[in-house]
Point group: C2
Chain length 236, copies 2
Amino acid sequence: MAAAAPPPPPTPAPSAPTGLPDSDSTPVGHPLFTRIRLATPLDIPHIHKLIHQMAIFEKLTHLFTATESSLASTLFKSPPFQSFTIFLLEVSAHPFEKDSNLHSQSFTPIERIFNLDHTLIDPEAETFKSGINCDVVVAGFVLFFPNFSTFLGKPGFYVEDLFVRECYRRKGLGKLLLSAVASQAVKMEYGRVEWVVLDWNVNAIKFYEEMGANVLPEWRICRLTGPALEAYRDAI
Amino acid sequence: MAAAAPPPPPTPAPSAPTGLPDSDSTPVGHPLFTRIRLATPLDIPHIHKLIHQMAIFEKLTHLFTATESSLASTLFKSPPFQSFTIFLLEVSAHPFEKDSNLHSQSFTPIERIFNLDHTLIDPEAETFKSGINCDVVVAGFVLFFPNFSTFLGKPGFYVEDLFVRECYRRKGLGKLLLSAVASQAVKMEYGRVEWVVLDWNVNAIKFYEEMGANVLPEWRICRLTGPALEAYRDAI
């Protein structure tokens, strides 16, 4: 958890996203078309690269041992929302083409247009290209899974990671990703959405509190890992 | 999470549990036969009562809204260990009868004998009776579920609740329950077991550290719940 928590999130969007475009509306300024969709096994190479960037950002590359293979063997083993689930954030300078493959019974992709002050230069656009023959690139992700409150007697979501690539930060995209998880939780009648933050990360704390979250002051995470966990192999 | 975390755990057993009894061995002193098994939907009434006792213990009954019905509609929907999983702790003054129904492909019940200094009086033995025509009673439980570390690229377990009824505390039963989860994590090649503790609960922290866990000082839990979560219903 410590090794994979949300980085300092982007500050609220300078210009709020508009809704889905009407058929005859023309975005003004420099539109950034964004889409949140469920990730699939085909996205694993991009997801692996994003996690690696997050490890660099958090100066925790020494803890980064995930491989595409380890992700492939543990993710996407259950239907969306029942276990580890990833929302992928894609962006494009042009409207997204309709892709019925992306629509599933459990989740309809979310599209928003952000009107920016200037055109964005993405130095890694080629590396994070999503699909063939298009300018859609992967800009970030959120990984979450169900947790459970015995007191409420119902599940919630725990957000393990929230990451937006550097050139797309401070535009409201992190807020959009987290809002998508919160919205999904409400739709499923879940009781809570939880995640962790570093106590010295005042910008992140402010951002989360503005989103309606409480930061619990008294609870500490206990972690049993490495050789200390391995010691329990023959303990029972 | 705050509302349902482990209570101050029992201190280590004054007398360590012995292994499974040999067919011709006779336990000395006052033996307490214990068994950890997977809970089933039939255990929901007992589980609900245990959670309620935990809420009383933590002085958090105002947060307790779980009902047998809400538990029944959310627990036991996936195979053991893939989602919310409960180990039930049963105790008896006599050896457990063999019950092949309790053995599953995924988990073989764990039996241990604790030799106590004196006979235990359980004032709630009738309320927590497990099954018919026997003296087996439910003494506690642990509820856990998979979490995921992106940096490790593999799952772990998160322990939401660990509870032992009052008259069975300070005998090593809490440690046995937590060890059973840790052992299961190792068997499944999971990377971590995590839970939370209140920062002022020095006895619990000492106990967990003696079990090999690290308490992470800097991370804080963020929680979005109630009306603040509900506000996201139409946000996306």
